[in-house]
Symmetry: C2
Subunit: 281 residues, 2 copies
């Protein structure tokens, strides 16, 4: 595949200079690039040290359930992804307790807000209201639809230069308009805001630049759909063949009888796929 | 302009059949079309009876300020637009009090959530969490980026068949990707969900079908920008020349010394522009 450098394809005797593709570099190597954003460096370092490229989509209905999940599965994951506005009982004590668990089990807090409004509004949604997302989320998602000024407004409201955002450049659901020229424009947009944007939400390797972290939702050990437009891909397909970096797993783990064993199975599958692609060098 | 039917252009003696454009039909006439959605019918009827095509964007920082605005300016407007997640102090008593004011002053409640996630998530954000938007918002906004399945999931979660949604087909900020093919795809997407979709958020007449209500944000009496990418248009430009139906005014009213007099000035300007375009028949 495209992850193979030319010298592998030609045989070692050809002495072609090593061109290492983004997908074939290790997470650790990518933290050393000058263009890797501060949050991307934090995340890649943690993934390398903890040996996990699994993010959990904590798609449960209450804060109590989310906290129980974080406690049980925290040791297996690199990020814990929530939608604050879909959790019953959200209050300040929730994000304080979640931050304590995140610190103890070493994972990062990911609010999947998908900001998609003009700059002045997105900024108030990020730092204000009852969620005060900028105060506790290490990373958030932003849609490209509102253009670069919304991104710059969020960056201004960021409470720490170690925090960041992923731009949604592709979606995992049928009929999404985040395809083709839209995807390319989303990837270009990231360049106006390199310190804040850590990478992309995508279902394929949308850029060859290894500075960006590529995060893929809609992952299950078995392919299929959910009847509401969601389309699932396997960890091997996503990390091994498509060459993105982090799998986001929700219902595949949440709905399992043994959540811990299932999370470990995803972790093993996704990490093996990563080691397989890096070992191609 | 395009609002002029051919018989006006040719002179009455030509006896050409009257082709009435969408922009030239009255709000009341449009409620009689079989393809007008239930929420669009409610809104157009209210606009015709109350003689206002102004929606207020209540872009303030707290629920207390939002309630004071609703009380003061409610008599002037057709819709009161909020972002629940940008308001400090949101709780159930807020939306109950807001609904009481809305009923008394006769305006509709508009939560500008800009849903932009896969169906299963958007649905939980609409009906669940601490906001329970589907229980009190007459209308919400939805981005087209996630595709039609997200729209259908929201429709299923709708608490009343009288409620609806506007699809964001264009945005008022610089560099938005909601242009060209994206805009056209957003307009097409509405057709899969005609009972739920009441119309579009747009800055131009994106469709000639008079069933849809066209709502334009970013309106001020003076043109200009906000330094965060927002670009303002005047009521006369929006309603009179571009032919959309509702102006959304935020900072133009909120930041005024005399909010009531300013709201009345917007109401007068937008209604005059509407009467001018309908009188062209």
């Amino acid at each position: 595949g495209s992850a193979l450098p030319p010298n592998e394809q030609l045989g070692a005797s050809e002495k072609v200079p090593r061109i290492i593709s983004a997908a074939a570099m290790s997470y650790g190597q990518r933290t050393l690039l000058p263009t890797t954003a501060p949050f991307a460096t934090r995340l890649l370092s943690l993934m390398e040290e903890k040996r996990t490229n699994v993010a959990l989509a904590a798609d449960v209905l209450s804060c109590a359930e989310a906290l129980a999940l974080a406690e049980e599965l925290g040791p297996e994951i690199c990020m814990f992804k929530i939608h604050a506005d879909a959790l019953g009982g959200f209050d300040e004590s929730f994000h304080l307790r979640l931050a304590e668990i995140a610190k103890r089990h070493r994972f990062l807090l990911f609010e999947d807000r998908k900001f998609a409004d003009i700059g002045s509004v997105a900024r108030r949604q990020y730092e204000g209201g009852i969620f005060r997302i900028s105060h506790w989320a290490d990373v958030v998602t932003v849609h490209a639809v509102a253009g670069p000024s919304a991104l710059l407004s969020l960056q201004e409201a960021c409470s720490s230069t170690d925090n960041g955002a992923f731009i949604v450049s592709e979606m995992s659901c049928q009929g999404s308009l985040a395809v083709g020229n839209y995807t390319q424009a989303a990837v270009e947009m990231a360049k106006v805001c390199r310190d804040f944007v850590a990478g992309f939400i995508c279902t394929s390797r949308v850029t060859t630049d290894p500075s960006w972290v590529l995060v893929t939702p809609g992952v299950k050990l078995q392919e299929g759909g959910d009847g509401q437009g969601q389309q699932y891909l396997t960890p091997e397909e996503v990390i091994g063949r498509r060459g993105t970096d982090v799998i986001v797993v929700g219902r595949g783990i949440i709905d399992a009888d043994d959540r811990l064993a299932t999370a470990q199975a995803y972790r093993h599958a996704a990490w093996q796929a990563y080691e397989g692609r890096v070992a191609q060098i």
